[in-house]
């Protein structure tokens, strides 16, 4: 077992305990009577480290000194994931090395100040404190810009590395050296994030972090089945523009939030989209208005108030809002004209394919292409949306995949041993990514039962969270008119919770639409448990992040298409 020459109050010894705790590496702590015994300065210890420093490790006879060197050794040797010391990625590794050197600086300043203030070490206290502040300013600014770019850690990796670990204790205990962290908010946030690393452990003076927001939030009793994950992005008007510092292009996409048949005059439809609460209202004259579900006054949820088809009244202070979202009455000041600032922001909405769609961003992009709706009037049916606890791109990618049919949809869309996915064609036509000539054997390709056989599909992607499937009319389910199209479109409440909408258009005027709905729901239900089990939840876009098979041609094209479209939400750009 690894032996660690150790002292409870040593920051550099703690770094080793912390890493070994995270990596789950067993070790034996050899306690050195550091203070007041100064055992590490004695003759016996000089044989282990002539410099008279701890920590030192002895890994089955391999003896290594110097805290940051030991971190490199332990992580390179004992972290099979390669995250903590990312030797496989030269750019990340370079940054890790650079920040490890930086950590030598924080050790020689911030941690030195702590030794001075606690044990009386003879350092120039003003000089080490000034030096620590100089480094912390650089680190805080770096971490702030990392946050702006959607990164949580000092290096450009989606996970912490030994560089974060080496810096963390120096920062956490800086206050014990008289170095206030009040000027470094990004630094304090980063320490909170680091404390939530699995396997994290404490040392004297460092306390654990509060539990993170649970995956399934309990904060909103009235939210119904869709409540989940983070609900804490601000509901404030200004805040959203803050977010736009690194705007995610996902905000410019359209998402369905209600069926047109449900949006009746006088009705309110609260919904969640992209981590925010919104509210759709249909006025008595049929006009539809969508806004944040948050009163501009004190942020109360407007949907808890009332709407009479003309005016929306907030349940908190009774502010009333008129047709265009303009505040028309503030009961506490009944005679005053409410200021323009008190208006509700308007969110774009439109009706298409029997659904109401919403775009929360300022530069709306296209709806998904779905010509079947108009080509076959009256033959479209909409399945009730289904909550799926996975990312939108994972759900869409599954929809594009045929190779799972014999295993997940056994007896319907496929069966063993007819598992062969023959090569198909992938190209982009008019902005739509198309997979054509997708051929597969299906025992029961549709609701009408009948004979199984070879079916031919076309898949299309023209929206990052949607896909359409065209079943080319064929002989397999009983006649040339039994082709159909399905549009799957996923509305993200959060990155990990989505509402999947599925609409089906039959080609046959006599088709039993209810049966199509039931069949689609059955197939989708079979997919959900598989999709929800996928990890990471976010779709990793880097080709090397997962293994692929030849049949995944469309999946890989979809991932590239997402990269080109700049989609980050629901994906991980890892690598």
């Amino acid at each position: 077992m690894i032996k660690l020459y150790d002292y409870e109050l040593s920051v550099n010894c703690y770094k080793q305990r912390l890493l070994m705790s995270i990596l789950n590496v067993p070790f034996e702590s050899i306690l050195i009577d550091f203070f007041p015994g100064w055992e590490h300065k004695g003759e016996a210890f000089a044989e282990i480290n002539p410099l008279g420093h701890i920590p030192v490790i002895d890994d089955d006879g391999y003896i290594l000194r110097d805290a940051h060197a030991i971190l490199v050794y332990l992580s390179a040797k004992y972290d099979p994931s390669g995250q903590w010391y990312p030797a496989h990625d030269p750019e990340v590794l370079g940054e890790v090395a650079s920040w490890l050197l930086f950590a030598e600086g924080t050790t020689n300043t911030a941690s030195a100040a702590r030794l001075h203030d606690t044990l009386g070490y003879p350092f120039d206290i003003d000089a080490v404190r000034t030096g620590a502040h100089r480094l912390f300013r650089v680190l805080d600014e770096h971490l702030w810009f990392q946050e702006q770019e959607g990164r949580d850690w000092v290096a450009r990796a989606a996970h912490p590395t030994v560089a974060d670990l080496a810096l963390f204790p120096d920062v956490m205990l800086a206050e014990q050296g008289g170095i206030s962290l009040v000027d470094y908010p990004a630094l304090r946030r980063w320490t909170d994030r680091f404390k939530r690393t699995p396997g994290f452990t404490v040392m004297p003076g460092i306390y654990p972090a509060a539990p993170n927001v649970p995956a399934r939030s309990t904060a909103t009793p009235s939210g119904g089945e869709g409540t989940s994950v983070s609900i804490t992005r601000a509901t404030d008007r200004v805040r959203d523009t803050e977010r736009s510092v690194a705007p995610d292009p996902i905000v410019n996409e359209w998402f369905p939030v209600a069926t047109a048949a449900d949006v009746l005059p006088g009705s309110m439809h609260p919904f969640r989209l992209l981590d925010e609460r919104y509210l759709m209202m249909c006025r008595n004259d049929g006009g539809v208005f969508v806004t944040r579900d948050s009163c501009p006054h004190r942020g109360a949820q407007l949907s808890l108030g009332s709407f009479d088809g003309e005016r929306l009244q907030c349940g908190y202070h009774g502010w009333q809002f008129g047709a265009g979202g303009r505040c028309v009455h503030q009961p506490a000041n009944p005679d005053a004209t409410p200021p323009a600032l008190a208006s509700l922001p308007s969110v774009r909405a439109q009706e298409a394919f029997g659904l109401w769609w919403v775009c929360v961003g300022g530069e709306p992009r296209n709806l998904p292409f779905y010509g079947a709706f108009e080509a076959h009037p009256g033959l479209t049916t909409i399945c009730a949306p289904k909550v799926v606890r996975s990312s939108g791109p994972r759900i869409v990618e599954n929809f594009l995949d045929m190779a799972h049919f014999p295993f997940v949809h056994e007896g319907y869309l496929g069966r063993v041993p007819e598992t062969d996915v023959v090569d198909y064609d992938v190209r982009v036509v008019g902005g739509e990514l198309l997979a054509t000539n997708c051929v597969f054997f299906q025992p029961q390709p549709g609701p009408s039962g009948g004979e199984g056989g070879i079916v031919t599909y076309t898949y299309g992607v023209s929206h990052p969270y949607a896909s359409r499937l065209v079943k080319i009319p064929g002989e397999a389910d009983g006649g040339a008119r039994d082709g159909f199209e399905i549009l799957l479109v996923v509305s993200p409440e959060t990155e990990g919770t989505n509402r999947a909408w599925m609409i089906t258009t039959a080609y046959n005027p006599e088709a039993d639409l209810a049966a199509f709905n039931a069949f689609g729901a059955l197939i989708f239900q079979q997919d959900v448990s598989i999709v929800e089990s996928q990890r990471p939840v976010r779709l990793p876009l880097a080709p090397a992040s997962e293994a692929h098979q030849r049949a995944d041609q469309m999946s890989l094209a979809y991932r590239r298409w997402l990269i080109e479209r700049g989609v980050r939400y629901g994906t991980s750009a890892n690598g």
């Binding site: 409870e8 007041p36 055992e39 009386g120 070490y121 003879p122 206290i125 014990q176 003076g205 306390y207």
Partner: protein, 300 residues
């Protein structure tokens, strides 16, 4: 800051004697005054007021060699519990006693002296407190959900504050303990800045370990806390006992240094006591009744 007479005419600890190298100069601060100390070649301690800046050298042998016999204005000294004590005033009393230290089978140990940016009374009050065990010494001296502080009694005399019948559930009460237990404590404050506890010994219920904290007031808002142990433990090594004590003290340090104000407010309306704080309330009243002002914010 004027030093009040109570604190001025009191004995204060400077260092564990075994850390003072004969013939070598050591520096420290006491009540804002720079102090030097050493031992002569016979081991006798010498303490004197100096003009040397002690910054960064507190407790360290500064390297300089000195002949202590040349010191002319030496301050009074005492050696007790293995520590060197001095005074800047004229105490009319000796240092308090800890009778248990005379028991021949006790392990007497210097647990280490650590500096903290806080007033001495805040450190004493934290030492008297059990309610923080599950939160600050998680998994060692306390653990959630066993958080209750049951009623205990406090007796105050002119000489001391004594809290008896204190009980708390502890997962690892001491370096030698295995498994959780309800631990009995008695707390005693025999000196405005010194505090000790008696703690039941798992192996021998008839005896109590003694752990004391002797706080050296460097300034009003900065102390050097001397950890003293007198244990009935023949299993643990000195090293293990020291590590455990410093581990516990290191956990308290961050809390102590975050307290605002750093001086202990004696105005009852400055903070919110609960019943668990009975010993602290008595301690505050005891300091008030003595007229002590150094390291506290006196009640208006």
């Amino acid at each position: 800051m004027l030093v009040d007479p109570v604190v001025l005419h009191e004995w204060h600890p400077l260092s564990a004697l075994d850390e003072v190298a004969p013939g070598r100069l050591h520096r420290t601060l006491l009540l804002g005054q720079a102090i030097s100390y050493s031992r002569d070649l016979d081991g006798g301690p010498v303490v004197w007021v100096s003009e040397l800046d002690p910054s960064g050298l507190v407790g360290f042998a500064a390297g300089a060699e000195i002949d202590p016999t040349t010191v002319t204005d030496a301050l009074p000294t005492r050696v007790k519990f293995g520590y060197l004590w001095t005074t800047l005033g004229r105490p009319d009393h000796e240092i308090f006693d800890i009778p248990e230290c005379d028991e021949t089978d006790r392990r007497i140990l210097n647990g280490g002296s650590l500096m903290v940016s806080v007033s001495a009374p805040r450190a004493v009050e934290n030492f008297l407190d059990m309610g923080h065990f599950p939160y600050v010494h998680t998994g060692l001296l306390g653990i959630e959900p066993r958080t209750e502080v049951v009623e205990y009694t406090v007796e105050t005399t002119d000489a001391q504050v004594l809290a008896k019948g204190c009980k708390f559930y502890q997962p690892v009460a001491a370096a030698s303990a295995a498994g959780g237990q309800v631990t009995d404590y008695t707390y005693r404050v025999p000196h405005p800045y010194c505090v000790m506890l008696y703690k039941s010994v798992h192996a021998d219920p008839s005896r109590m370990d003694v752990i004391a904290l002797f706080n050296q007031p460097m300034t009003e808002e900065r102390i050097r806390a001397h950890n003293f142990l007198a244990m009935v433990d023949d299993v643990s090594t000195d090293n293990t006992l020291r590590h455990f004590q410093q581990l516990i003290f290191g956990q308290d340090k961050t809390i102590l240094e975050s307290q605002f104000p750093k001086r202990l407010p004696l105005d009852p309306r400055a903070e919110t006591p609960i019943r668990a704080d009975k010993s602290a309330i008595h301690y505050r009243r005891w300091l008030s009744s003595k007229g002590l002002t150094y390291g506290v914010i006196p009640a208006a």
